[in-house]
């Protein structure tokens, strides 16, 4: 399913270019651009750009100015929820 909206969103007006998101990213999907972080596929990554980031949300967690947000839906899985989702 296409969830490109699920890539972290950056509010460049809040970003101070501190680079903590780059350090925190476990899959090296973040590079620091001139105006803020850019979520891009690492060179070695064979997957599409939208799949490079695995949405662990660590970047959001470490951002001191709340410039990064990762939106997600909350759904159920398993027998209790199967019929609905």
């Amino acid at each position: 399913m296409n969830r490109t909206w699920a890539l972290p969103q950056v509010d460049e007006t809040r970003c101070t270019l501190c680079g903590l998101c780059v350090e925190a990213c476990s899959c090296q999907a973040v590079q620091l651009g001139e105006r803020g972080p850019i979520f891009a596929c690492p060179e070695a990554c064979l997957r599409t750009r939208a799949e490079a980031c695995d949405c662990c949300c660590l970047c959001e967690e470490v951002c001191p100015t709340s410039a990064i947000t990762c939106a997600f839906e909350i759904v159920g899985s398993g027998q209790d929820y199967t019929k609905r989702n």
């Binding site: 662990c56 949300c57 997600f72 839906e73 909350i74 159920g76 899985s77």
Partner: protein, 219 residues
Amino acid sequence: MLVQNLSQLPFFARLGDDVLRESAPHIHERTFSPGQVILLEGDLCQAVYFVVRGVVRTHRTSLAGREHVLAYLGPGESFGLVPALDGGPHLASVDAVTDTTFYVIPCEHFRRIVREHPGVALAVLERLASEVRRLSDVVEDLALHTVRTRLARFLLAQAEEAQPSHRWTQEEIAAHIGTVREMVGRTLRAFAATGLIRRERGRVVVVDREGLEREATGR
């Protein structure tokens, strides 16, 4: 048209068409866009707002800027009742989550309706009573339960919805359950590590409902 729409709202359903027609000139329709501030905590009360379409968020904010969401209100729900009745300032700030339409009734006219129509007065009392119950639950949640418990309850409640109605950020959830973003992130990771939830692209999936229910009851 306004009279017909008014009769769909819980309070006004108890009024006859003649009273609704009499009230109509005092009632104004207003629309707001997503993110637009409708009123601020501490503002003097000018009117009671009834949501006709859309969703609004009521919240309080600390001096340090930390926000706590009190409620999301949809069609048929209202805000501004307490200050309209006691003459004090608004208890919370309100902003529009979606495109929203309201019927706005000046406080003075609203008080007149309440005075003259016991059915409306009773509806107002019932509404305030249910709010006291809800806020008592909120106080219990904040005072007696850990962030882990509150987050488990929140996830279970959201997963109950047939269709996800909202895409949440950690900051929004923190404002909703009375904590900070870092705690939400840390607790989500802890839940994922113990297999209660699974994180996917753009999704948090509740995979062990029973386990999360145990967390939600603090057992």
